[in-house]
Amino acid sequence: MLRRLLLSVALMTAFPAMATSVVALDIVEQAGESTAIVDAIVGHSIEVVDEDTGQGYTDTTLHIHSNVAGTAPEQIRIRQIKGERPDGTRFFVVGDAEVEEGERIVAFIRKYPDGFWYFTALNQSVWHVADRGRDPRVTRSFDGLEMYRRTERGVLPANESPQNFDTLSQLLSELHGLPCEGAR
């Protein structure tokens, strides 16, 4: 009984992160993969199903406060491969970003030929602006991301820590005006 209790507690306290294998992109590289960098408020999410394939998605509205770089409309829908189906199942891309309605984010986004917007590089592409009273923090999570770097010896693992900022303005000044080439 104790073992079961401990296991349950342990599992409930486990890291909530997801994961996938990615090459770490610095902000210039990521801007080069993006259509825009936006300062936005997360809106409502809906789940949709592709009628042809049966594949489900979650579309989340982003209310664009400002284009930090590149250009995006005032309101867009970000598509993610995740959802909960009526049959009580859950699916997702391991390592994708998780955003909550009402939160403020700064994100690299890219518009694909299918007409939908996506986060450029999953969890790498989103900074969460957390209002912690007088001590707001702008943080990015690499939870669940297996990080690599391209090197002269090939694609090798890399120790990468997410770059965080004390203030939103610090982040925005880093990102402002970066060349977004993902729309070309």
Partner: protein, 564 residues
Amino acid sequence: MIALVMATMLSDAQAWAPLDTCGGWPTKWHGTTTWRMTNVGGSYYSGLNDAAVLNAVSDGFQVWSDAACCSDFAHQFGGDTAIGWNTNDNTNAIEFEENSWPGGMGGVNSTIAVTTPVYSLGNCEIFNADQLYNAVGFDFTVSNNPGWNDTDLQSITAHENGHWLGLDHSNSPDATMYSTYSGGIGDRTLHTDDENAVCTMYPGNCGPMCEGTDVIACDDAVNGTTVGGANTVQTWACANWETSGPEAVYSFTSTVTGDVAIQLTGLNDDLDLFVTDDDAGSCDNQNCIASGTAYTADEEVILPAVAGTTYQIVIDGWGGASSSFSLGTDCGAGPGVPAGDCASTATLNCGVPTSGTNAGGANEVTLFDCAQWDTTGPEKVFALTAPGDGNITIDLTGLDADLDLFVTTDASGACDENGCIGLSGNNNTDPEQVSFAGIAGVTYMVVIDGYDGAVSNFDLDASCPAGGGGEDTDEPEDTDEPTDPGDGTDGNGKGDGTDPGDDTGLPADPGNDGTAAEDDGAMDPYYIPGGCSCTTGGGGPAPVFGLTLLAAALTRRRRPSATP
């Protein structure tokens, strides 16, 4: 408490985490995972031949099944499929995308490979997963020395397959599931933390192993306990009940080929006895050879042993039980006596009556080989050395509870429950008497044991043959035949059988139980010349000489009406 548990779980010793949880239970496959390779253009991936890809992917799965701790994660290749990535088709496809990297999977120049598990929110069962390898933006290799712009496929598959089977990243830096792995082909093999993860989430297969450094030999016996032991085995392939108590493990190498009796005695809770193949010094709960099935009673299994072969003997607790125990092996010469078991704590001298109690004594023996009833009360053990050759009679009287009397061989200062020389098991507070043929200078163990846990005061006396100790020195009236009432109450208060007045011309009857009916001229039941005299409470027909002690004991019915 919670903080302590969290701190423990987040320590490097157990850094792994499941991908998600449902009601506290982790995401995992239930049963064998069948994966398929997407083949739409005549090959899996144009950069490598199919066999190389298949081997790398398969090895990436197998590394999790081959975990040293015996994970139960099972997988199989289900063949090729023309279906690619889709979380809604239950295909479990592994696909190399070479043409167009889909939106939602991350950047084409960033994402190397993605796993998309699908699981039930009710029980977290993963029932579908796809893997997509980005061959648009990356070149995959199976070389042991990845070169420029190469990505080691097997390292990636080993990591991604960790996600496939339900694991999240580990915070152990050496782990395959560490989010920033150490480089090169290092992630092709698992770290201890990875193994702990897969074996915790997928226990079974060859099972959790129990290791013991203790050894028991042939015809040996040991005392032990499972209290405070590790509880690593919950089920056994040869039993259909759970054994959630701690285990004690003994390595046993047989010196004989044939049946070896392994006995577990002295239990005060429900321990079970298992014998398994030896698995590199550990038990193997999936290769269980034999098991005992009793509740709190003694356990015995017969092992068809092969000389020179090592087995693991495991004492495990049913329902969380733990207990001290005695473990013995009988390879033909009979099990030994555990050191210190049933040790004598006093000396009994012939002709010197003594009084005492078994209260506070150890309960080391619960079954003598000559008895068919449990003696679960504490013992009081006396050492008695025969002063000369001849019959010795022990009388136990003055009882206020049901004690029994046994005489056994001397096992280094302790009684031998399997070396029973004589016994007396009368009901209730009836006096007990044992007579046996003593040999000068030989020490015997006189054991007063409580039936069904009984504790009592007692008086004890021994009448011995002439010798250094002086036989019947307390019976001058034995020479006074006319005054001998012949009822066993003479002199020492008992008819000891050596008193010629007690019998009528028959050979000395050491089995005289001292009752008034005893001086009937008949031999006591179950008297075995040179062996054991087993008295009964009610007398009975005289047995045939030469019956074995065991046969006598087996045919003897123990106190049918005396059970409380």
